[in-house]
């Protein structure tokens, strides 16, 4: 069994757990058991309860659904933006291409987390849980594409030098057709690889935002918001089961890294 298959199998299991959260979870993510706040693991609550008496296992499953749907959705948008920007930079004139490359470099030079913080701060902070989910998704998609765009531009520039592109240009094919019909299919593997790289990066980005209190807000759980609860550091040594979201995140990101490996990398 290849490491890629192991990764894909792991991702499938986690997606199944997340999507079936409504069935597998013994309680809703906001349901409170007020008799047992901050309870240790038991038969009724496998991972115990939080300070509000909410079942941690149920919240983890629902959080898995949110994070595992949010990151790939944002990655799809970011990859599409990257492909569009990278290809445009490659086929446009020298100065426009260079200006776009400089813009990619500027965005890449700033740490993603800092950009996320800055842009998040420019938007209203006191929003509903679903609005915060949409904002986090939009921020990741809008800020995560420059690295992929740079790769797409390099790939497109290399493809433009190849004989099929030269023949197409010599035949008088327009830029748009050249992009859509000749370059884009050729760059599909490059773009797909970028998607597999962006998903774990976005899972980590969302987690960092959640830990810093700027991600998905209560009562909606996500891995980021669940990890944010670990800031109550005093009880972490006494209650190690609270690290379960961290373990889930670690396994998921590892699985995505394994699934994104090319056959050459595996060899």
């Amino acid at each position: 069994m290849s490491t890629r298959s192991v990764g894909l199998a792991g991702i499938c299991v986690m997606y199944a757990a997340g999507l079936l959260a409504g069935v597998l979870a013994p309680a809703g993510y906001a349901d409170q058991d007020r008799e047992h706040p901050d309870a240790p693991p038991s038969r009724a609550h496998w991972l115990g309860t939080d300070e509000l008496g909410r079942d941690r296992w149920s919240r983890l499953l629902h959080g898995t659904r949110v994070s595992l749907l949010l990151a790939p959705a944002a990655a799809v948008v970011a990859t599409a933006l990257a492909a569009a920007a990278g290809l445009t930079a490659a086929v446009s004139g020298k100065w426009t291409g260079e200006a776009m490359a400089l813009a990619f470099d500027v965005l890449l030079s700033l740490p993603l987390l800092f950009l996320l913080l800055a842009l998040r701060a420019s938007l209203p902070l006191n929003v509903s849980a679903w609005a915060s989910l949409a904002i986090t998704f939009a921020l990741l998609a809008l800020l995560g594409w420059p690295s992929a765009a740079r790769v797409a531009r390099a790939g497109a520039l290399a493809a433009l030098e190849s004989t099929f592109a030269l023949q197409a240009r010599a035949a008088g094919i327009g830029k748009l057709r050249l992009l859509a019909v000749h370059l884009l299919p050729h760059l599909r593997p490059v773009v797909a690889a970028q998607f597999w790289l962006l998903v774990p990066a976005f899972i980590l980005g969302e987690a960092n935002l959640g830990i810093l209190g700027l991600g998905v807000v209560e009562p909606l759980p996500s891995w980021g918001s669940l990890l944010g609860e670990l800031q109550n550091l005093d009880s972490l040594r006494a209650q190690p089961w609270r690290l379960a979201p961290a373990a889930a995140l670690l396994i998921a990101v590892c699985c995505f890294h394994l699934a994104g490996k090319t056959p050459a990398e595996e060899a």
């Binding site: 740490p111 913080l117 987690a207």
Partner: protein, 289 residues
Amino acid sequence: MRAQKGLLAALLRWLAGVLAAGFLAAALLYLAPGARVDERELDPTLSEEARAALRAEGAGRGGLLGFYVDYLRAAVRGEFGDSRTYGVPVRQLLEERWRLTASSVLRGWSAAWVLGLGAALLCARWRWSAGPFTAASAVLVSMPSGLLAILFFVLRWPVAGILAAAVFPRVFRYTRNLLEAAAGSPHCLAARARGVSRGRLLFFHQAWPVWPEAVTLAGVTISAAIGAAIPAEALCDVAGLGQLAWKSALARDLPLLVALTLVIAAVTLGCNMLAGAAASLGGERRWRA
């Protein structure tokens, strides 16, 4: 002459990058909902004309571009406005805190490079030693820096260690790939066929030719270290620029955030520029040799 031209081009590129980052930051400040609302507008004793005048004052001259030019002029003089959260000039805050962040970033980055490069060299020399380092790198690269900060804080390990742990996997993976690629190159095969010792082969035939690429990576990893400094300082309560960025984001202190954007862009683009210049000089020498 060619090197001088290259350096000039790199400097111009750096300047253009910082100006572009400044424009992005100014646009953020200009367009953010409610960012330029003056609290004096809430005063019920003011007339409608006075409120309109305040609004016009806040909007600045000539729209976004005029606002940017005004902001840039003030920034060149070192005036970034006043922080809304702390009620002091942003410049003062930056001066008070940059040393702490610079120190922890430099220490963490250096430790990551010593460990990452050392581990990559070890793996290149003794392939059986790759397992633990690869596993450690896979675990660390899968952890958000915020989680690393929490774990390091619980274990009472230093803040620079968080940055080292965040940067180490990038250094290790990339340099190891570089060394492995170099090991399969014809000059290494020829050296091995001539009976060059393994140590000599590693340092002079594998590691030495790839240093320009490694230097380029060194510039890029500075940005990663600065990014990791934000949750590290925020969660470990270290009064550096990372904590300042976090607090200003939570308080929507946009003048402070914009100044931080400019400073971070200048530093990271400068490091990338220096690394790129060193790498291209090294590359030229390598090919001449």
